[in-house]
Symmetry: C2
Subunit: 113 residues, 2 copies
DNA sequence: AATAGTAACTAATAAAAACAAAGTGACTAG
DNA sequence: CTAGTCACTTTGTTTTTATTAGTTACTATT
């Protein structure tokens, strides 16, 4: 009747939780990019090369839903929507920087075709 | 002929490189799990709940290819294949731990259905 | 010895996610 | 009036992931 605590593994729940967000393509990049300051949709798309409108839109909704980014509409006339990190999002930025350092030092060059 | 340095953004290449690996589902979890010590295929599958044989096999090949894990075959008779982190993989472990801490403190609970 | 069970995979197929391209509605510049 | 930007949404097509079912080599059981 061992409740599964005796043997050993059961992968870290917190890390697993982190990867529900970061294990999806683009999320890490979006947060890292917003770490340099708020940006609006088009700027963000340009800053994250390769992402498409549809996916960016989708990711931003998700990130807003888990309260890592905020969406603020400035109803101009030239309407502008600005995306920024929340506190929680900001707290991730330094970790992402370490991730970047790790990648530079431990990953082989950008596996090109 | 501006080489794209004038305006501003262009998301961090190193972070982007990190996410070529970590932005794929399971990779982070696999590395975090191996961070607690080497495991063989079946143990790993049990330790990472939800992953399937096919995907685990695939991920392990990828991770071996970028030299983050090693695969060593012990030709028993009871043949056993053991997977372990390389130096590069080990260097990621502390960062993953921070990621876990961040998740616990900044992410809403496991969005259940 | 035949039957069933585990380990470590591979193969085939189904389902989900990502991508590319175009379209929408509001507005500005020429 | 035409063309272009912004912020998206919609519609396919392609890639990735996931699920299911083998396969080969052994071990444990009966």
């Amino acid at each position: 009747m061992e409740t599964e605590t005796s043997e050993h593994n059961e992968c870290d729940g917190a890390v697993s939780l982190a990867f529900t967000i970061l294990g999806k393509r683009w999320n890490g990049m979006i947060i890292a990019t917003l770490g340099k300051g708020p940006l609006c949709f088009a700027e963000l798309r340009r800053a994250v090369p390769g992402i498409s409108d549809a996916v960016l839109s989708d990711r931003l909704s998700e990130l807003a839903e888990v309260t890592l980014v905020t969406r603020s509409v400035n109803p101009g006339p030239p309407i502008a929507v600005s995306y920024a990190l929340t506190d929680g999002g900001e707290r991730l930025v330094p970790v992402l920087e370490q991730l970047g350092q790790w990648a530079s030092s431990s990953l082989p060059s950008p596996v090109k075709a």
